[in-house]
């Protein structure tokens, strides 16, 4: 009885002191920026990429002398890929650490949970890769550096209709995934308004491995192109199995396809497929090449689009602080909103009146088992 109480009270005291001790002391010579990111959990790879990109932006800025004569200190909180954890992480960053700006998250579901908190506290938040239009509608302190689903859907539709010249498209979407559903919907809307026709729609679920049933149904409708607005693992399997069914039409995807794994899984069968993305590390632009090289030196791999977006989100935040001259939240907000033609690694970025990024979109094609830069579409 006695010992039990002793151990229990020790545990509780240890926990309480741990919580109290982990508060950060604000330094006069530092500017605190908060980041919440999915470092663990189901989407840990995305969170890690954006985190690395952002770390690079912070280090580069600090090595160049910081901003306003101060160093940037990045405080990173893990969200475990859970929305409620994102809300807690952001609350902690704002109320305990008193950060001047918040950067994150990849997933729209986490950004949607955290954005109202940033808005209520009037702390500017820049999301690096949340493409759901709802996120920036949460208030005038919420911004993004990636393009939104309607824009990407429109570009994919225009590319399929105009550049490829195909009029009959079929859609195969991931029913479990908010991003895939959104993209499919916006593609369908703009493709129809261009005069195209959606001949069939089929669905699959993330984690599926066999798509023959859906593909056979699509084949029966005889489409000229198949749109797969999902992630690379399933997309690669889908294209592979489609080729086995003698479906040789072009397959078109969105930025969810953007991974080295796409060709690793799909191999030669990925030929004659296209996808849109924010960034290509093969883009000959010197800014991109410089970034890709540095990233490779630091982390030993090629940067993906998420790393580039994480990097750009950081740079836009720092640039806005520099232009505002102070870290006061309303001035900082105005400075971010006034971002115009900012040269990021994902192209020239302008923040529009809805706090979304207007930026070019890159179309990549797979030819002979290699990613080939196809074209850049300006907004």
């Amino acid at each position: 009885m006695h010992r039990r109480k002793k151990i229990l009270s020790t545990v509780i005291i240890a926990l309480v002191s741990l919580i109290i001790s982990c508060g950060q002391q604000a330094d006069q010579n530092e500017i605190l920026i908060g980041e919440y990111s999915s470092l663990t959990g189901t989407t840990a790879t995305y969170g890690l990429s954006t985190h690395r990109g952002l770390m690079m932006a912070v280090d580069e800025t600090n090595n160049a002398g910081g901003i306003l004569g101060k160093k940037i200190k990045l405080l990173t909180e893990d969200t475990q890929s859970k929305p409620e954890e994102a809300a807690t992480a952001v609350t902690k960053l704002i109320s305990r650490d008193r950060v001047v700006g918040v950067i994150g998250e990849v997933s729209s579901s986490r950004s949607l949970a955290a954005a109202p908190i940033c808005q209520a506290n009037k702390i500017p938040m820049i999301t690096n890769a949340s493409t759901n239009p709802e996120v920036t509608k949460k208030g005038d302190y919420i911004f993004r550096v990636c393009f939104i689903d309607p824009f990407q859907g429109e570009i994919m539709a225009k590319f399929t209709f105009n550049s490829l010249g195909l009029k009959r498209a079929a859609i195969l979407k991931d029913i479990k995934n908010d991003y895939s559903i959104g993209l499919a919907q916006f593609f369908e809307e703009s493709f129809k308004s261009l005069g195209g026709e959606i001949v069939a729609t089929q669905a699959y679920s993330e984690g599926d491995a066999d798509f023959k049933a859906q593909l056979t149904a699509l084949k029966a409708a005889n489409p000229e192109a198949v749109i797969v607005p999902g992630y690379y693992t399933e997309a690669a399997l889908i294209v592979k199995q489609a080729r086995e069914l003698n479906m040789n039409m072009p397959f078109v995807g969105g930025d969810g396809w953007d991974s080295g794994k796409l060709i690793e899984i799909g191999g030669e069968s990925m030929n004659n497929s296209y996808f849109s993305t924010a960034f290509s590390s093969d883009d000959p632009d010197p800014v991109v090449q410089n970034f890709a090289q540095k990233y490779h030196q630091l982390y030993g791999e090629k940067p993906d689009a998420l790393a580039a977006l994480g990097y750009d989100a950081g740079l836009i935040m720092f640039d806005a602080i520099k232009r505002a001259g102070v870290t006061e939240s309303s001035k900082l907000r105005d400075a971010i909103a006034a971002t115009k033609n900012f040269r990021g690694v994902t192209g020239l970025i302008t923040i529009d009146q809805h706090r979304n990024a207007l930026k070019p979109i890159v179309i990549l094609a797979v030819e002979n088992g290699k990613l080939v830069y196809k074209e850049t579409v300006q907004p």
Partner: protein
């Protein structure tokens, strides 16, 4: 005189909630957030404790009941356009929570009925499947936002709501356990055949446990939805159910106080470990293993014994 004691406690704890409400603004928002999560987890764990701990029906579908409640209340308050802080918001929120509980308990009834025939592992798998069914149905309903999630929920949950409901829940659980029903639950848990031999309606007790547990899981879901203000089917996956089961097991099956404390500790733990970033879930899991090894019997009901770490269990010697 003795039977008035629980009522007195209920009154006292409700008054205490009211008093703390006055100081609500002075609590750091971060602590406030964590405290409310603790409260929601206490409701979830305590309600699961009725099913798993007292009635002995191993259920893995609690997150499904929570999802049913979360979506029900979110749809109700959103369709009424309730703004937080207005006088009308209190009865409206109460109404939505009660509906959340009722819908969730209907699902509980639906799980309870097949559970009449199944036991142990088989029941666990059935409930797991059921929880997933609820989630997948929501994922395919477009008016609930499907996989995109349900956004724009008013922030109506606060300290008073969460802890007020805990007070009522614990009061009800305490009374239930000390009633004929409670004895019936324990009899069903300990030996079903013996229980039915002495004339206990095993079926009825199991169904009551599921309905009661699901009711409060639904309310917890409603509180959660109106606190986070955004819900998504992926938040109610089976991992969530496991988290709640862990809270019950660590606290001790059928131990009311133990489960409350373990829910609190297991919510604080990941927060306390924030400073070690991505490794914290490793440490969290490690601490869970240590807690399970150290405890004897129940977490609080039993004893801690460091020696158990290297001593063989009696069964092996």
């Amino acid at each position: 005189m003795k039977c008035h004691l629980p009522k007195l406690y209920l009154l006292l704890s409700l008054i205490l909630c009211g008093i703390i409400l006055i100081f609500e603004k002075n609590i750091s928002p971060y602590y406030y957030q964590v405290i409310v999560y603790i409260g929601i987890n206490i409701i979830l764990a305590s309600s699961l404790n009725i099913i798993n701990g007292f009635a002995g029906q191993f259920s893995l579908g609690h997150a499904g009941f929570m999802a049913a409640g979360a979506y029900t209340s979110a749809v109700i308050t959103s369709s009424m356009h309730i703004s937080p802080g207005s006088l009308a918001s209190y009865p409206a929120f109460l109404f939505s929570l009660i509906c959340a509980g009722i819908i969730a308990s209907l699902f509980g009834l639906m799980v309870g009925i097949p559970s009449l025939r199944l036991k142990g592992d088989y029941l666990a798998i059935t409930t797991l499947g059921f929880g997933e069914i609820i989630r997948v149905i929501i994922q395919n309903l477009d008016f609930l936002g499907a996989a995109r999630g349900f956004t724009g929920i008013a922030k109506l949950s606060d300290f008073f709501w969460v802890f007020g409901i805990i007070s009522i829940l614990i009061f009800l659980v305490y009374n239930l356990i000390n009633s004929t029903y409670g004895k019936g639950f324990l009899a069903v848990r300990d030996d079903e055949i013996a229980a039915s031999a002495v004339g206990i309606d095993v079926t009825r007790y199991k169904v009551i446990a599921f309905v009661f547990g699901a009711f409060f899981a639904g309310i917890a879901g409603g509180l959660y939805a109106h606190f986070v203000t955004y819900i998504n089917p992926s938040q109610f996956g089976f991992l969530r159910s496991f988290e709640i089961v862990v809270m019950v097991v660590v606290g001790g099956m059928g131990n009311i106080i133990g489960v409350i404390i373990s829910a609190a500790i297991l919510t604080i733990l990941p927060e306390a470990l924030r400073s070690i970033a991505q490794y914290r879930m490793v440490i969290y899991a490690l601490l869970l293993v240590i807690i399970m090894l150290l405890r004897e019997g129940e977490f609080l009901g039993g004893r801690f014994n460091i020696k158990r770490l290297w001593k063989k269990s009696p069964a092996e010697t």
